[in-house]
């Protein structure tokens, strides 16, 4: 590779041609401030509109200051990153941004976790000249079931637009208008609800300010906990336990399952259960469905459609309901683990403890914002009573724990309650890309071949590449598996399915890059993909720590089928644990 040599702040460095000044500086230990720029290196995601101009540097021989996030290094370049001219320009840019930004930091949901606030601190901004006369651009606030858009706080970094269009290919958001009124919005400035938005929350995950945040459901949860007539149960998704610690200063990838259970108990939940249990249940239903479709397909039954697609991810469900309604009989009909949990909690478990479903409140803690929308879907309720009442994100739980004066880091480890807290390693790995299909393979293999698995770790299904494929040997059958994470990658596999060219028997799809560990409700990664990798590694570690690692070996699952459901895909199981999909594309409602 061709290399170029340059000087940055009197230090010499040789870098591959095409390297940006900002990256070369970083190699030298010089951190040029970046605001609109964001990169998730291992996922190949980069936002570099060169819009904010905070990162400008002086390049000898050039008249204008250069944005270091996009300017590439050239042979013999002499760069200075902190001359008076640079510092003044940087300050002016920041002052301009702040002059059109609300100053309600004290009560902003992003306060303390805001990249704009951090930048103002870093640049030592103490006043905003002309603020008294500066006009503020203001926009209508938009609240959807999952996401709040408060665009007064938008700084036009366009990270959300990049995520929504380039990475997720959802196309809900675009920069609109120009100049002072420029902002990121759905078509015709409709509410998100009327756009193709899947509520994947990746826009929220990358927003540097408080412009995009989640709908906070903690007040409702608090009210339920305070109501003596209610029994409140909580379920926690697999990806939460490997990320929650970050909110309390622990190293990314720290497993805090035991502390999390302690904290939830201290918050006053009557039963602390595990979504992993429902993940095991999902495998029983989805795995059985896969084998059934596969067997019928191999016998030549034309009504058996392959590949089968996983259906655990609500962002992904929203995506295909909007863009691929013609394929809506292709995904598994199995509900997501969150909803399976709710359905079992409000029937089987409610009966067991003798509580009416109306007095049982099911709360879920999810790494996800689409789960908020999912639990509000009308098909997931009985007589107006939802199976899952409230879904809060990992971030909301962390805030809740802090408000309750709980010293998280010094909590003892505690265990989930029985029965719905029992789970296997297969349930745990649902939290990362490739995990659902690996869990399914572990069970499907044993059910199909009647033999015990020699090895449990299917490492060929793991990794961070956007689209992966592997063939798993089922004896007389070679099972072709496809995996995609990120909706743009999912689209590639779906287009193959639509055109009849897909070679896969089964496909796993997760809407968020990295899977649930990178969900829109997780602690913010601020563009550090090492954090996502550490969480994924922790998920596999948690799996290895489990005595049982195959869903069909979960004793409570076995008992649940014996006592209540009969067998997987039985009529009762279908009624409670399966769903159907709808075409979601709505005609645009044009408001006068």
């Amino acid at each position: 590779m061709e290399k170029v040599k340059l000087t940055i702040d009197n230090k010499t460095i040789e870098v591959p041609k095409g390297t940006t000044i900002a990256k070369a500086a970083k190699m030298l230990g010089i951190e040029v401030p970046l605001l609109c720029h964001m990169e998730l290196h291992d996922l190949g995601i980069e936002n570099k509109p060169a819009g904010c101009r905070i990162c400008v540097v002086e390049v000898e021989g050039r008249r204008n200051l250069a944005p270091s996030c996009v300017t590439t290094c050239e042979e013999g370049m002499v760069v200075r990153t902190h001359t008076t001219r640079v510092l003044n320009a940087r300050r002016t840019v920041m002052e301009f941004i702040l002059s059109d930004h609300p100053k309600d930091c004290l009560i902003c949901p992003k306060s303390g976790n805001c990249e704009l606030q951090d930048m103002a601190i870093r640049l030592g901004i103490r006043e905003i000249p002309g603020q008294e006369i500066a006009e503020m651009s203001t926009y209508r606030k938009d609240t959807s079931p999952s996401i709040i858009r408060d665009l007064d706080k938008c700084i036009m970094c366009r990270r959300c637009e990049m995520m929504c269009n380039e990475v997720q290919t959802v196309g809900a958001l675009s920069a609109i208008n120009r100049g002072f009124m420029a902002v990121v919005a759905p078509a015709f400035e409709q509410n998100l609800e009327h756009s193709p938005c899947t509520y994947c929350g990746q826009c929220v995950a990358v927003c540097p300010t408080g412009a995009l945040t989640e709908v906070n459901h903690t007040p409702e949860v608090l009210r339920a906990l305070a109501d003596p007539s209610k029994v409140v149960v909580v379920q926690t998704a697999p990806a939460v336990r490997v990320a929650l610690g970050e909110e309390f200063g622990l190293k990314p990838g720290t497993i805090v399952t035991g502390k999390m259970v302690s904290a939830l108990r201290a918050l006053g939940f009557d039963y602390v259960f595990d979504t992993d249990f429902a993940a095991d249940l999902t495998i029983m239903e989805e795995g059985t469905e896969l084998l059934d479709r596969l067997t019928r397909y191999l016998k030549g039954d034309a009504s058996a459609k392959l590949p089968i697609l996983t259906s655990c991810c609500p962002g992904w469900v929203n995506f295909f309901e909007y863009y691929y309604p013609d394929l809506k009989d292709v995904p598994s009909t199995a509900k997501s683990p969150q909803q399976m949990f709710g359905a079992i909690a409000k029937t089987y478990f409610a009966d067991k403890i003798g509580v009416d479903r109306k007095n049982l409140v099911v709360v879920s803690v999810m790494p996800c914002l689409a789960k908020k929308y999912e639990c509000q879907r009308s098909e997931f309720s009985t007589d107006g009573n939802p199976d899952v009442d409230y879904s809060i994100s990992t971030r909301e739980l962390a805030a809740f724990i802090r408000q309750a004066n709980i010293d998280f880091n010094n909590l003892p480890d505690d265990e989930f309650d029985l029965p719905l807290g029992e789970s296997t390693g297969a349930g745990v790995i649902f939290g990362t890309t490739g995990g659902v299909i690996e869990a399914a393979v572990r069970t499907a293999y044993e059910l199909y071949t009647g033999k015990k698995l020699g090895r449990i770790d299917f490492t060929e299904l793991r990794g961070f590449e956007g689209v992966r494929s592997a063939t798993v040997d089922f004896g007389d059958l070679k099972l072709n598996i496809g995996i995609a994470h990120g909706l743009g990658n999912a689209r590639k596999l779906l287009d193959e399915v639509r055109s009849g060219k897909s070679k896969f028997h089964a496909i796993e799809i997760m809407a968020c890059p990295g899977g649930c560990i990178g969900g829109g409700g997780q602690p913010l990664h601020h563009g550090n993909s090492e954090i996502l990798k550490a969480r994924a590694a922790a998920i596999y570690q948690e799996d290895r720590n489990k005595p049982l690692r195959k869903s069909h070996e979960n004793p409570v699952i076995i008992k649940l089928y014996e006592e209540f459901l009969g067998k997987p895909n039985s009529d009762k199981a279908h009624k409670l644990l399966h769903t159907h999909y709808f075409e979601r594309k709505k005609k645009i409602i044009v408001k006068p």
Binding site: V170, G171, S174, A175, I176, N177, I588, V590, K591, P592
Partner: protein, 160 residues
């Protein structure tokens, strides 16, 4: 944002498809497609943008982004008789602004708007190359020169 709700007729949809097809449904040709659509419909209502979105496989949010970025594109229909008042230097110094004010007052609309009956719309432009006739007003294809505020009522009467 303001736009009226319209229902596209079948032939309108066909026309949009035809325009897109003439650019090979190439998303890179979005601006050209929008030009042609505006030429045909006079403006770009949401429904037109939706059909373009389907044809070019460009998210409708992106199309709306382009439409709102360029001042040439409009989502408000022009009136049956579009009125343009030149605000170029020559016309301006000879009182175009007062003429404009008179049109606004008579029609009860602002620049960029259309009267509720759809008859007149008001816009300003910069120089039509007839500075000798300043101030200049265009109604449709017809040019009026040396327009004084007092003439406005009579001009509008011609189109009743």
């Amino acid at each position: 944002m303001s736009s009226i709700k319209i229902e596209l007729r079948k032939e309108d949809v066909e026309k949009i498809k035809e325009i897109c097809a003439s650019f090979n449904n190439d998303p890179q040709e979005l601006i050209n497609v929008l030009h042609k659509c505006q030429e045909h419909f006079g403006y770009l209502p949401a429904e037109v943008q939706e059909v373009v979105s389907d044809c070019l496989k460009v998210p409708v949010a992106k199309i709306y982004g382009v439409v709102t970025f360029y001042s040439f594109f409009t989502m408000t229909p022009k009136g049956k008789h579009p009125i343009s008042i030149c605000m170029g230097t020559a016309c301006y110094v000879r009182g175009a602004e007062k003429v404009m004010e008179e049109f606004k007052k008579e029609l009860g609309i602002q620049v960029g708007q259309t009267t509720p009956d759809g008859k007149f719309s008001l816009s300003s432009l910069r120089c039509v190359g007839a500075c000798g006739l300043a101030p200049v007003v265009l109604v449709g294809d017809k040019t009026y020169g040396r327009v004084a505020p007092d003439d406005v009522k009579n001009i509008l009467k011609e189109y009743e």
